[in-house]
Amino acid sequence: MSEALALLAWGDGGWGDEMVFGAFVTLQVATLAFVLGIVFGAGGAAIKLSKVPGVPLIGDLYTTLIRGVPDLITIYIIFFGGGQAAMAVARVFGYTGYIESDPLTTGVIALGIISGAYSTEVIRGAVLAVPKGQIEAAKAAGMSTLTRFHRILIPQVARYALPGLGNVWQLTLKDTSLISVVGLVEIMRQAFVASGSTKEPFTFFVTAAVLYLALTSLSNKVFDKAEIWANRGVRRV
């Protein structure tokens, strides 16, 4: 046990600081991807709720494809495809060398697209939960589309969507571990490197598990607080 603790010491002698740094990278990727996913989700929900014939199909295609294909495949497609796309663009400007995708950018975009598919469903459900009469009443009161949006729709959609978005956040947080396969040095990658050089894989993967447990438990608390805040105006039985 004390040997394991020495391995996890802070500074040059141990891997403690590296692991915690990895946790910050994990948190960074997860946060950026989650925010990007909400943007995609809002767009996806708007497309799915569109009344123009044929348009909702595009949204269905997005969510069905992303949710039916393993996240790892999506990540690889964006990693390898992104590198190829960049090379194709570079060739136009006369550069013929090899370009590799940046793991952080790949991670944020890939996880953003994946979490966006789940957020689409959550936000769509939340928009549908807002009573139609309220929008009609806002119109009758002479509110502009924008005012209706930020005074009536957004606050209520946020409240209805929060529990679902909490799930999406958990999923995104755990999915960041997959970005380690394209070389991003987050918790998993760091644990893998440390295991290799110390020959103590169990110690480091347990450490990784503990870090993930801490991150998920803490963020659960944050979402609980956010839900209480969003529901502050709602009377409870």
Partner: protein, 243 residues
């Protein structure tokens, strides 16, 4: 399953070589996991506090950490201990596919037990009382009254779990198991085209489509009370819960 020497020319055939492993991983972990999950769900609802607490901890750990950590803990981690290396299980734990099956099974057990628990709790208590009044034993009550209704209730959620497990088998690629994802990734690295990855994606979509159709057909079969005679298969449920 495939060797370097008999590599097919067609990328579809190449990826299809990984299909048996993908299906084996998904089917075996789902089958074993389902049985374990019923037990775990009962523990979760047990009146004995330590049992309830143990089941809760198990579910909490497996749902709060990434599957990749669980796979690496089993495949790379367990070998750290000499006791494990000397045990009778070592010939199994040395193999990537047994480790993958073990990790996927433990993982799906945690998620499935929550789905089943929801189903069990949805059975109205009055029915249990009625069954008691008829003089049924605990076992008979469970077999005839509680379990069939719990399963019916849990089926849509379990359909999502099947899809998630089929997708999760792709993580076995990270521990050298030549299933569809690893074959596709190797081929992509070798040929500099992302076509193999798209082909693998089509295979996964097809499996998941068939699996969801199967679950819907089962749902239809198990709920004669909810359907009218003329309607055919219900439309797909568009809102699965995010994992």
């Amino acid at each position: 399953m495939i060797t370097l020497f008999d590599k097919p020319d067609n990328v579809w055939e190449l990826i299809a070589n990984g299909l048996p492993w993908t299906l084996t991983l998904a089917a075996s972990s789902l089958a074993i996991g389902f049985v374990l999950a019923v037990g775990l769900a009962l523990l979760r609802l047990s009146p004995i506090t330590p049992l309830r607490w143990a089941a809760w901890s198990y579910v909490y750990f497996f749902r709060s950490t990434p599957l990749l950590v669980q796979i690496f803990l089993i495949y790379y981690g367990l070998g750290q201990f000499e006791a494990v290396q000397k045990s009778v299980f070592w010939p199994l734990l040395r193999e990537a596919h047994w480790c993958a099956i073990l990790a996927l099974t433990l993982n799906t057990t945690a998620y499935t037990s929550e789905i089943i628990r929801g189903g069990l709790q949805a059975v109205p208590w009055g029915q249990v009382e009625a069954a008691k009044a008829c003089g049924m034993s605990v076992l008979m009550r469970f077999r005839r009254v509680v379990f069939p209704q719990a399963i019916r209730q849990a089926l849509p959620g379990y359909g999502n779990e099947i899809v998630l497990m089929v997708k999760s088998t792709s993580l076995a690629s990270t521990i050298t198991l030549l299933e569809m994802t690893l074959i596709a990734r190797k081929e992509t690295s070798a040929t500099f085209t992302i076509e193999p990855l798209f082909v693998a994606a089509v295979f996964y979509l097809a499996i998941n489509f068939l699996a969801t159709r199967g679950v819907m057909a089962l749902e239809y079969k198990l709920s004669p009370d909810l359907r009218d005679a003329k309607r055919s298969l219900p439309l797909p449920d568009q809102e699965p819960v995010a994992r």
